[in-house]
Amino acid sequence: DQQVKQNSPSLSVQEGRISILNCDYTNSMFDYFLWYKKYPAEGPTFLISISSIKDKNEDGRFTVFLNKSAKHLSLHIVPSQPGDSAVYFCAATARTYKYIFGTGTRLKVLA
């Protein structure tokens, strides 16, 4: 049973436009959510996170939105840059050290 789902395996966006990556979860106990970025042949690196007490967290070009009632979060990248091309994983946890990861979305930003 996949508790964290990223239903879009891939996404292509023009440079300068907005990239929106989506993530859905099923466990209402999740209270902290993270996004990781992964380049080929490298490990995932932390990008941004959000606590369930918030509905938005912003860090430069990256903003994460959380809709608890819909059990949905999204990552917005504005403006998208070619260097943003990577696989993005969302992850969730419920007051524990164990993070549940989604299957990832491969973002390609076209120059």
């Binding site: 490990g43 164990k98 990861f101 299957t103």
Partner: protein, 116 residues
């Protein structure tokens, strides 16, 4: 400073052989994780070490899988009698101790295991 390192970066083995994967965490990180990522799948939790506490082995898929950690340093993941379905990228991550808050996990580059 040095990040998390893993070796080997690639491993090709024959079905039935044993393999050992190594992880060197960031110095001072008492928590260490192993994950598996199969093709087209997400990161699958395997095992968690925290200091001298008993590890959380709840994610290990079978008794062919085992892991050890020496104190708060190097960890090895061993897969005995490898099967083709063990082919995956094995990722190690380390973090500060979990104490009710949320700590960033720092990942190594992974070991790509191919079982022929």
């Amino acid at each position: 400073g040095a990040g998390v390192s893993q070796s080997p970066s690639n491993k090709v083995t024959e079905k039935g052989k044993d393999v050992e994967l190594r992880c060197d965490p960031i110095s001072g990180h008492t928590a260490l994780y192993w994950y598996r990522q199969r093709l087209g799948q997400g990161l699958e939790f395997l095992i968690y070490f925290q200091g001298n506490s008993a590890p959380d082995k709840s994610g290990l898929p079978s008794d062919r899988f085992s892991a050890e950690r020496t104190g708060e340093s190097v960890s090895t993941l061993t897969i005995q009698r490898t099967q083709q379905e063990d082919s995956a990228v094995y990722l190690c991550a380390s973090s500060l101790a979990w104490g009710g808050g949320y700590n960033e996990q720092f990942f190594g580059p992974g070991t790509r295991l191919t079982v022929l």
